[in-house]
């Protein structure tokens, strides 16, 4: 049994623009994530990858299909039982600042999962755990008294990670956790996430649009296109011999940061047949 099993998930949103067709964000997605593994989902805007991340956590309800976590069908849980379940499954968002309540101190933000899931915990013990977790993600102890707005982007994302791991989840959805960060900070955060995974034996669903990032963090990769997974393969295999034409396009659009690996100039101009789902 896998830790997370998604079976034929379907989700359709009504279009925000009047008269347009509804958006079919997920068109029958199936996947599984093993204990301690990182599965990356890569896709471009409109591919449905973020919807998938939220559907796995049941932050939105599926139209069809099911999500099982550790054998439990999440769709069958009462709201109360589902909330209790959330100690085991967490999420880190793309926007570090927006994901933190601007009116709460860092300490208040990070302690919240404990207050929710272990209401009997003494204040002193909560405080101890908060400080330990802040330390674990590389934040100084006095950060606990600060407001999120007083921190840098990288520090804010560390707070988001601290909040996610304090309840010791077994599974985390990482929704583009580094794409709004600067390059040098990005590397630090990726390293931190890898260490934490090692320490706590967590499974990750890593949602991203960036091939470089995905290559460096994942065990397996699922490629999403227009609400479907077109290809799933172990990371090295996918990069070595991509099967699906869309995967090949994605790989060829990758820009290496090494000028010695310049790709031949292929003029895309005039060829709009290969475009992202958003422009379709």
């Amino acid at each position: 049994m896998s830790l997370v099993e998604v079976d034929s998930a379907v989700k359709t949103f009504a279009s925000r623009v009047r008269g347009r067709d509804p958006v079919r964000a997920l068109r029958g997605i199936s996947l599984h994530i093993e204990e301690g593994e990182t599965l990356a989902v890569i896709g471009e805007s409109g591919s449905g990858k973020s919807t998938l991340g939220r559907a796995v956590l049941r932050l939105l309800d599926l139209d069809e299909g099911s999500v099982r976590f550790d054998g439990t069908d999440l769709g069958g849980l009462s709201p109360h039982a589902m909330r209790a379940m959330r100690a085991d499954m967490q999420i880190v968002f793309q926007e570090p600042y927006e994901s933190l309540n601007p009116r709460l101190t860092v300490g208040g933000i990070v302690s919240e999962p404990l207050e929710i899931h272990q209401p009997r915990l003494k204040t002193k013990e909560i405080r101890r755990q908060v400080l330990a977790t802040l330390d674990r993600v590389g934040l100084p102890g006095d950060a606990a008294r600060r407001l999120p707005g007083e921190l840098s982007g990288g520090q804010q994302q560390r707070v988001g990670i601290a909040r996610a791991i304090i309840s010791r989840p077994r599974f985390m959805v990482l929704d583009e956790p580094t794409s709004s960060l600067d390059l040098s900070i990005r590397a630090q955060i990726l390293a931190l996430l890898a260490e934490l995974q090692e320490d706590y034996k967590m499974a990750y669903l890593f949602v991203s649009h960036d091939m470089h990032t995905v290559e460096s963090v994942s065990d397996r990769i699922a490629v999403m296109y227009l609400g479907e997974i077109v290809e799933t393969a172990p990371t090295s295999q996918l990069f070595a011999s991509p099967d699906h034409p869309y995967t090949q396009t994605l790989l060829s659009a990758r820009l290496s940061a090494d000028p010695r690996e310049r790709h031949a100039y292929q003029s895309y101009a005039g060829d709009l047949s290969v475009t992202s789902p958003a422009s379709a």
Binding site: L59, E98, S99, N101, R103, L104, P113, H117, R163
Partner: protein, 269 residues
């Protein structure tokens, strides 16, 4: 307070209001505000009567100060009622579900009401009861609170940090009190300051029309009413001083609203 230090306008405004209130409550007035003196009517401002006297010979200065008590307390009462009901109803209108949808529909229709006319009608029908003035202020201002709260809460509900709270298993109750409400207090405070200003004007308008606070109890609107006719014959002071006080009060609360708004905007960054 932090708000004050950065905003001179608000500091001056609040000091003015506090001074006015204290004066109306405790200061010895030069004349009895309700006393009339036939021989001393329509006197222009002078050393004896700083703001002049009205048609009945009463001292305008004493009346203007005295009126602050009733006008400001009615305004505050109306604001508190609007605030409490407006916030509760606004929260109710920003949840999912049938009831909330109906509330919103009603709110939309309410926009079409000529609220001043309705307020006037209610106060008149009740036989000039002062509590009805408070109700009238609430009637005008509750929809504003509701609309404000609804738009703020709906956009907050879409925010990442509320999604994060749901992802960590927070109950709806916890989300409301820990994540939504603390983030709307800023705009609610701004609105409250504006509501006091609006209430002062509504009360003045009602008394100007002879509704609500009625003579001989001094009220700013009533005093403007008494001096309205004199404006076209040159005795400007009877209506001008109470009008000026209303203007200054409104200005003060508007400044305060600006200051609060600036402060919350800054701390939000």
């Amino acid at each position: 307070m932090k708000v004050m230090r950065q905003h001179t306008g608000a500091t001056v405004g609040v000091s003015f209001i506090v001074l006015l209130l204290l004066a109306s409550l405790f200061a010895p007035l030069p004349y009895d505000p309700k006393a009339t003196e036939g021989g001393a009517s329509l006197q222009a401002p002078s050393g004896a009567h700083w703001f002049g006297t009205d048609g009945a010979g009463a001292d305008v200065f004493s009346r203007v100060i005295d009126a602050a008590r009733i006008d400001l307390s009615l305004a505050l009462a109306g604001t508190v009622l609007s605030l409490v009901l407006g916030v509760v109803l606004g929260l109710a209108a920003s949840t999912k579900g049938k009831g909330s949808e109906r509330l919103v529909r009603g709110l939309d229709a309410f926009q079409a009401f000529p609220l001043l006319i309705l307020a006037l009608a209610l106060v008149t029908l009740s036989g000039n009861k002062l509590y009805m003035v408070v109700v009238a202020i609430a009637l005008i201002n509750i929809p504003r609170y509701m609309r404000l709260l609804r738009s703020e809460v709906l956009s907050l509900r879409e925010s990442r940090f509320v999604e994060a709270a749901m992802a960590m298993g927070a109950s709806p109750r916890r989300i409301t009190f820990r994540h939504l409400l603390p983030n709307v207090w800023g705009v609610v405070l701004v609105q409250t300051s504006l509501t006091i200003a609006n209430a002062i004007v509504v009360i003045a308008a009602l008394s100007f029309l002879g509704v609500g606070v009625s003579a001989p109890t001094p009220s700013w609107g009533g005093m403007i009413r008494a001096g309205a006719g004199n404006m076209s014959s040159g005795e400007w002071w009877i209506a001008s001083f109470p009008g000026l006080i209303v203007l200054l009060c409104v200005l003060a609360f508007n400044q305060l609203a600006d200051a609060i708004g600036d402060t919350t905007a800054r701390s939000h960054r």
